[in-house]
């Protein structure tokens, strides 16, 4: 196999910080090469060097691509040679159609006028290629995030791609969408395309990659060849973190008490589609000192369930009873829910969790300002003490509590959000995707915090799309599907296969029902011509 890309001795320094030092990285023709490492290991920087975002001259080392040394001045130079990067944050324009998005940069045109037919036709071809069954004139805002990711890929394919770079392409996808995307990658590979895959999800990496390069602290640690035999996840992790994580999940001896929080007959309707029942009369409970996981596919209604509980922050026509210690509680507004002892850590910390422009201190005290104030006047000394206290307890890495929270890494931001909610002293903590987008070291720390909370007698509810995570930290796992709980497993009996089977079985029944309906229609049609 010939070498398509050879990056040699790449070093790149920012003011005071060495982001990359002497990194070597090669991609062969027609291989999928995974790039893994903790947040801040230098993966994105390396890709920016490659794609010309950091122009030639701003780094040391050489890039040989397709047999020639290249000096990319900007991203156009690299794109012209078929190096296309798809960023983690989708760059689609929501209110334009799929076709318009695909050809946003250079639509096929005649004399400066966009050739709409050509746009439509070529979009159709590209969508077929990525296996997306949507009309090209559908607005991007109307399709799900998984499909949007496919549109991004179609957009990349509209150019001449030889080396496709995907930065965390499955970060916000559910399992089936992720699987479809990875299959697509494999198909492209069989057609001779090369790809660089940056991902935190090691099971996916292990599934599709031909080789895996591990970066740590701006250096190449190792390149593992998957052809030589299956590469174990634990081996990759050890390389990534440079410490022997014997277990990815901290051990804990659960000490579970009586049920503290109970939800009965909870029902929620969609805020826009009034007749769509999203949560279907569910019952749920959690015990003192227990960590309960809620598993399910994206769109199963897990976040909607949690947010509807937390001050009716989502949905309409919410009915049902919520009880704490056997007494019914009022959860009709967020502040009442907080007062009742609930806390909800959002799945999207940047949009719903943090004041990104404000400092760590202000973020930590925001949900419980009253207790750092006398009357309505904030006691700045007390506030500072609280903030410093949480900074130490949660090991938030920041220069001081006056640092802007937007400048922290994902893991540290998550700890700030957790601190905010712990400061409200809740009895029930709902954590929605608590480790999304944070590196393995920080994940471990978050798991430890969850364990401490449970040991302190709190009831913790964890919503997560990463099944190993649920299996690793939960005492009990409830499976949600289409707005209802469809299965429940104890820690001892839960396995990934069992949970998946419950979800899939549910899906099969759905298919069956569709079939039945079709059959029925057919029969009826024959009976009444």
């Amino acid at each position: 196999m010939t070498t398509l890309l050879d990056m040699r001795g790449i070093s790149k320094a920012f003011v005071g910080v060495k982001a990359l030092s002497d990194v070597n990285f090669t991609v062969r023709q027609g291989e999928i090469h995974a790039l893994v490492g903790e947040n801040g290991a230098g993966k994105s920087t390396l890709m920016k060097v490659l794609s010309g975002v950091y122009p030639s001259g701003s780094y040391d080392g050489s890039i040989v691509y397709d047999g020639e040394e290249r000096h990319f001045r900007d991203i156009n130079d690299s794109e012209a040679l078929g190096i296309i990067i798809i960023h983690q944050e989708l760059a689609l324009i929501p209110l334009l159609s799929i076709a318009e998005n695909i050809f946003i940069a250079s639509p096929p045109s005649r004399f400066g006028v966009i050739d709409r037919n050509a746009v439509y036709r070529r979009s159709q071809q590209l969508l077929a290629k990525v296996g997306l069954n949507e009309a090209p004139d559908t607005l991007v805002t109307n399709i799900g995030i998984g499909k949007q990711q496919l549109v991004e890929i179609a957009k990349a394919l509209s150019k001449e791609v030889r080396l496709l770079i995907l930065d965390e392409p499955t970060a916000s996808l559910n399992e089936s969408d992720s699987a479809a995307l990875l299959d697509l990658l494999l198909e492209f590979r069989s057609q001779g395309m090369s790809a660089i895959l940056i991902s935190h999800k090691l099971n996916e990496v292990a599934r599709v990659a031909d080789r895996i390069t591990v970066l740590r602290d701006g250096r190449t640690v190792d390149t593992l060849d998957c052809k030589a035999g299956a590469v174990e996840e634990d081996r990759i992790i050890r390389k990534m973190v440079d410490r022997d994580l014997e277990h990815r999940f901290p051990k804990r001896e659960p000490n579970i008490g009586d049920p503290v929080f109970r939800v009965e007959n909870w029902s929620v309707y969609h805020p826009l589609h009034a007749d769509r029942q999203v949560i279907k009369n569910v019952d749920f409970h959690v015990r003192r000192g227990e960590v309960v996981g809620i598993a399910g596919l994206m769109g199963a209604g897990r976040t909607e369930f949690a947010m509807s509980l937390f001050g009716r922050s989502w949905g309409r026509k919410i009915t049902g009873r919520a009880m704490l210690h056997g007494r019914e509680i009022d959860l009709s507004t967020v502040s009442r829910a907080i007062d009742a002892g609930l806390a909800y850590v959002t799945e999207d910390r940047k949009q719903f969790g943090l004041l990104l422009a404000d400092d760590v201190r202000k973020n930590i005290t925001l949900a419980n300002l009253g207790s750092v104030a006398t009357g309505r006047v904030i006691d700045d000394i007390k506030e500072l003490r609280v903030a410093n206290d949480y900074r130490n307890r949660m090991r938030i890495r920041c220069s001081d509590v006056y640092q802007t929270s937007g400048n922290l890494s994902g893991g540290n931001q998550q700890k700030v959000v957790l601190s905010k909610w712990l400061f409200t002293d809740p009895e029930i903590l709902i954590l929605d995707e608590p480790t999304r987008g944070i590196d393995i070291g920080a994940k471990y720390e978050i798991y430890c915090i969850i364990n401490e909370l449970a040991d302190a007698g709190k009831a913790v509810i964890v919503i997560s799309s990463e099944m190993p995570e649920l299996l690793g930290i939960c005492d009990r796992i409830c499976v949600m599907n289409e707005g209802a709980f469809v299965g429940e497993f104890d820690r001892s009996e839960a396995t990934q296969e069992k949970i998946m089977r419950v979800i899939v079985r549910r899906g099969e029944r759905l298919v069956d029902r569709n079939l039945e309906r079709k059959l029925e229609e057919k029969l009826l049609g024959e009976a009444h011509p």
């Binding site: 910080v17 982001a19 903790e38 947040n39 801040g40 937390f310 001050g311 922050s313 507004t333 967020v334 502040s335 829910a337 907080i338 909800y344 959002t346 949009q351 719903f352 969790g353 943090l354 004041l355 990104l356 422009a357 404000d358 202000k362 925001l366 949900a367 300002l369 009253g370 104030a373 309505r376 006047v377 904030i378 700045d380 000394i381 500072l384 003490r385 890495r397 920041c398 220069s399 001081d400 640092q403 890494s409 893991g411 540290n412 905010k420 590196d439």
Partner: protein, 396 residues
């Protein structure tokens, strides 16, 4: 991006401190630079006691409204109607007092209540119906401009009773009459204010230091307070050598102190910034975002009404044109003072300094005889320049 934050070395810490504070005091420095410039080019006319007093009177209503506008802008909104509301309330005041002979106290209270009602009417649509404030208040601007015209039937109504005029053209009573050319009461108040401010900042610093909070270097702190003290005493001296403290200046200072305190030190102030910083996150933290937005508009209405009264009293007549274009000066003051158009950022001191920068430029350019045409051009460029500088500073 690196995950690890390295502890800064001592030297860089001090440098960082200076840098942060330069930005903080940058606006103040530019106000001084502008004042010095005009003082120089007008051959000392700018800081003559008479002119300085006039400067205060001319800009009082802008400063008053800027306090409310700052809160509105911090929550991420805008209020274009304040000029029209001020004009409309002034018209109502004139009709009540001049036509119907209502005593000025109930009339003034009614006017402030009317302002609150107007603010509530606009805030309701913005806060609870989520209609963009730009549109709601643009509508309000037209509505109240028209209503002012209707109430006044197209004519000017005046004059007001002498006691109401005192609101903007009066001075505080002299307790020691005949004590010489200077007004000793005003001097005393100024000195007390200066001493009080220094005392508070010394005490705050000591308290923070005793709790191990990092404080600014002693020399820097002393110099800052010395300058602050000197400036207040000097301006008091100038004001006292004309006719003493104007009533409206007393109102202004009280309001500035109140709003400064509320925004910086109270829970409601903190929550207002949170709403502007990230409304969804604020809401999920138990903050009643709609109610706060609503209240900032009510507050804006009251302050616009107060400004309307001050302006009417100053002109001693209510005219259909009163208040036209005020909103532009008020909004410009906030943005020159460092407020962010995206919400969540902005300080009371900044808005006041912004208003004073606009005021000094208006006054200075008028003294120089620059026509209203080029005055506007220059003010527009200063606004753009100030915001560009701020954005540039933040990028670094």
């Amino acid at each position: 991006m690196s995950d690890k934050t390295v502890a800064l070395p001592e030297a860089r810490k001090h440098e960082g401190f200076l840098k942060a504070n330069l930005r903080e005091y940058g606006m103040l420095l530019s106000l001084f630079a502008i004042m010095l410039f005009f003082e120089f080019v007008t051959d000392g006319t700018l800081l003559r006691p008479l002119n300085l007093t006039n400067l205060v009177l001319q800009n009082s209503y802008i400063v008053i409204m800027a306090l409310g506008m700052l809160l509105v802008i911090v929550t991420g909104h805008i209020d274009l109607s304040v000029g029209s509301v001020a004009g409309f309330v002034g018209a109502i005041a004139a009709v009540l007092m001049v036509r119907y002979g209502v005593h000025f106290i109930p009339a003034a209270i009614a006017c402030l209540a009317l302002g609150a009602l107007i603010g509530a009417a606009q805030g309701y649509w913005v806060a609870y119906f989520k209609i963009p404030s730009f549109i709601v208040t643009l509508a309000g601007m037209l509505v109240f401009k028209g209503l002012a015209l209707a109430v006044l039937q197209g004519q000017s109504v005046g004059p007001f009773s002498p006691i109401f005029q005192k609101l903007s053209s009066g001075f505080i009573p002299e307790l020691f009459p005949g004590a010489g050319a200077l007004y000793p009461t005003s001097l005393l108040i100024g000195a007390a204010l200066a001493l009080g401010l220094v005392y508070v900042s010394v005490k705050t610093r000591a308290r923070r230091a005793s709790h191990g909070v990092e404080v600014e270097p002693t020399g820097f702190f002393a110099l800052k307070n010395l300058i602050l003290f000197g400036v207040i005493i000097y301006f008091t001296y100038l004001i006292a050598s004309h006719r003493g403290l104007p009533n409206v200046l007393v109102i202004m200072i009280a309001l500035i102190a109140l709003y400064g305190f509320v925004t910086a030190r109270t829970t409601i102030g903190r929550q207002i910034y949170a709403v502007g910083g990230n409304e969804k996150a604020a809401k999920l933290s138990g903050i009643k975002t709609e109610r706060l937005t609503f209240l900032t508009f009510v507050n804006m209405g009251v302050l616009a009404a107060l400004a309307g009264l001050v302006f009417a009293a100053r002109l001693n007549t209510a005219t259909p044109k009163a208040g036209a274009g005020f909103e532009l000066d008020v909004i410009a003051a906030c943005f020159i003072g460092g407020a962010s158009a995206y919400g969540g950022v902005g300080r009371v001191a900044g808005a006041v300094i912004g208003a004073l920068i606009m005021g000094v430029m208006n006054n200075g350019m008028s003294i120089l005889g620059i026509g209203i045409d080029y005055q506007q051009v220059i003010k527009g460029l200063v606004l753009l320049g100030a915001v560009c500088l701020d954005v540039y500073n933040q990028r670094r």
